[in-house]
């Protein structure tokens, strides 16, 4: 039988970060200019091998959870899928564009929420007409209320991420990468965003979710990838099993209590 169409193919991906100068050897303006002209790298570079040979395929309608400790390469993986990081080796192939939602602050922080919605939608290639049509539902979904007329830098972290999620998910993205962006939302928003993620999946989009909240992963994802030091420890559709194994491996960490959550979810 036919397999669903692949949306993301990660083929033996390696990502290496280059961390520049640790303070020593900064140089003067003149030497910096010379370096720029000669197209040389800064002298003091440390290399961090963040992703070490990952391969997997995500299909249409998949919601892929990515779990792992801090620094295991989860965010790096998402940024590589979004095309924001160069692959040292290997390749990432995608069907269409990927939108990455991180925990960083506003899109255009000096502009009002309203302008952010309009400009964000225009930037994604929506027509002004369509933006006008969808505007009320986006604002409604974000739930920021009267704050929509204030500059986005005045928003709380949660409000900011709600609005950003509302904007990025307004267009049916082919691939939506959510990097802990829902963690700061309240319970009500979490329910809403899960529903939206399900909708995106139903429209044959693919969603990647990085979350330390394992309950959220179990509720949302049909596939999970467990990373450790830039490599896949386990991956598969047996979400609960992998999450269990991950919990066991990380033992003693506060995340332990998380499995209590799904009890409330499906019940």
């Amino acid at each position: 039988m036919a397999v669903a169409d692949p949306m993301v193919v990660v083929d033996d991906l390696h990502v290496v970060y280059r961390v520049y100068g640790s303070g020593a050897d900064r140089g003067t303006a003149a030497t910096a200019l010379l370096r720029m002209i000669r197209r040389q790298r800064r002298p003091s570079i440390r290399e961090v091998h963040a992703i070490r040979g990952i391969s997997f395929v995500a299909y249409k309608g998949d919601a892929v959870g990515v779990i792992g400790r801090n620094g295991s390469g989860k965010s790096t993986l998402l940024r590589a899928i979004a095309g924001l990081l160069p692959a040292e080796e290997g390749m990432v192939y995608t069907q269409g564009h990927a939108a990455l939602l991180g925990v960083n602050a506003a899109l255009l922080e000096n502009l009002t929420g309203e302008k952010n919605v309009v400009l964000g939608c225009l930037a994604m290639g929506m027509s002004p007409q369509l933006v006008k049509e969808r505007y009320p539902s986006i604002v409604e979904f974000s739930g920021v209320g009267d704050f929509i007329n204030l500059a986005m830098k005045t928003y709380s972290t949660g409000m900011g991420s709600r609005l950003r999620f509302a904007i990025a998910s307004a267009k049916s993205q082919d691939i939506l990468l959510v990097d802990e962006a829902l963690a700061t939302g309240d319970a009500e928003f979490r329910v809403k965003s899960h529903r939206r993620i399900d909708e995106l999946r139903a429209q044959a989009g693919t969603v990647f979710l990085v979350a330390h909240n394992l309950g959220e992963i179990e509720e949302t994802c049909n596939r999970v990838i467990w990373l450790e030091k830039g490599q896949i420890v386990q991956a598969g559709t047996n979400v609960a099993e992998i999450v269990d194994a991950y919990l066991e491996a990380t033992g003693g960490e506060p995340r332990k209590r998380e499995p209590a959550k799904p009890q409330a979810g499906p019940a």
């Binding site: 692959a87 390749m91 069907q95 027509s127 269990d244 919990l247 499995p259």
Partner: protein
């Protein structure tokens, strides 16, 4: 299931058995449709793959991706498609510019007034230093309109360059979150500056009219020059946006380079007359250098706008009258011809128009077009080639 302490929770979840993760998802109320279809497919697939990562058996991933028309995540659209994408986002570009412009001074008590005050204060400072304290206005008729026009025109290029050198880093969250052609951002920044320029030009018109400048048909040439200057600025913005996207070094260095550029572009001094025609002045014996300075893009645009707005500049430009050795020499060394200061100020100061031009007016127009096209093409290609690298770091 190996840990007895947490057995109960996943047990609840895995109703159909621990292996079928998607079961738990259905229980969560996922809508039917493609998602459900995927699940059934996965259920029927006998052990999808060894790693559980959805990798198809017996086919290299690269070939697999190619078969399904997947593209490298960091693929750069071809030039024409990229141009089309940019055109498609034109509303975003202008909306972004207008909104940023409005928000730019939202924290200042005088608000939008700063858009006018900044160039005015700039002009006042330069007038005080160079016009009053240093008297460099020697040999330039109508020095105040000359200076103010130069500053306002140069300011357009200056600000386009400086702001676009930080555009990619300033808008990092936007670049990372939403997929769109990155060229929108430097374009937007130039449009911000263009909008500010239109405002400051209104002020400029008021100033020069107040100085007794008549309204002439030549004024209609100004928009044309501004079109070329804008194109040139777009090219510079593309180049600087790419340079500035990686390191902060560019934006740190840029103000100094631009200040040097300003002094070399005849904003404060007149290269073509007082510096090049007066014996003893710096460029009198260096006509090649004078030529280079005059064809530099900033000088070209400034001179063309001065010549279209300011009658005194137009009629005193070398080459405006047929060459007359005597009158040209009178302009250069009035003392030798016993010209009184009053005579010089009223009459002889315009005699520079009887000298040979180093760069003629038609040549200036050619350079204006040439610089604009060169900058915009080189800048665009240079920026486009790094399209996939913006937002990294």
């Amino acid at each position: 299931m190996t840990n007895p302490g947490r057995l109960s929770a996943p047990g609840d979840l895995d109703k159909p058995g621990s292996l079928s993760g998607p079961g738990s998802l259905q229980a969560n109320g996922s809508p039917a449709g493609p998602a459900a279809a995927t699940e059934s497919e996965e259920a029927t697939k006998p052990a999808p793959d060894p790693a559980g990562a959805g990798i198809p058996a017996g086919e290299p991933l690269a070939a697999f991706a190619k078969r399904y028309n997947l593209e490298p995540a960091a693929a750069r659209p071809p030039v024409l498609k990229y141009l089309r994408l940019l055109w498609q986002r034109r509303q975003f570009i202008t909306g972004f510019a207008t909104a940023s412009n409005v928000a730019m001074y939202s924290e200042a008590r005088l608000g939008q007034l700063w858009q006018v005050l900044t160039p005015l204060l700039n002009a006042a400072v330069y007038f005080f230093i160079f016009g009053v304290l240093l008297h460099v206005n020697r040999g330039v008729p109508g020095y105040v309109p000359f200076l103010v026009t130069g500053i306002f025109v140069f300011n357009f290029t200056q600000r386009s360059c400086i702001t676009s050198s930080t555009v990619m880093r300033e808008n990092l969250p936007l670049i990372r979150a939403l997929p769109f052609p990155r060229g929108c951002l430097p374009l937007g920044y130039v449009i911000i500056e263009l909008q500010q320029l239109l405002l400051s030009f209104t002020v400029l018109f008021v100033i020069i009219l107040a100085y007794g400048e008549p309204l002439t048909w030549y004024w209609l040439l100004t928009p044309l020059v501004l079109v070329f200057q804008t194109l040139f600025n777009v090219g510079c913005a593309f180049i600087l946006a790419r340079w500035g996207s990686g390191f902060d070094d560019v934006s740190q260095l840029l103000p100094f380079i631009i200040r040097t550029w300003m002094y070399a572009s005849g904003v404060i001094f007149s290269i073509s007359t007082s510096l090049a025609l007066v014996p003893g002045q710096s460029l009198y014996n260096h006509k090649h250098l004078a030529y280079l300075l005059q064809i530099n893009p900033a000088a070209v645009y400034i001179t063309l706008i001065r010549n279209s707005l300011l009658t005194e500049q137009r009629i005193s430009m070398p080459g405006y009258h047929p060459y007359n050795a005597l009158r040209c020499a009178m302009y250069g060394s009035p003392a030798k011809f016993h010209v009184s200061p009053a005579q010089f100020k009223n009459e002889v100061i315009y005699f520079s128009s009887y000298c040979h031009p180093i760069v003629s007016q038609p040549a200036l127009w050619l350079y204006a077009v040439g610089w604009a096209l060169l900058a915009v093409v080189v800048g665009f290609v240079f920026f486009w080639r790094a399209e996939t690298r913006y937002g990294r770091g």
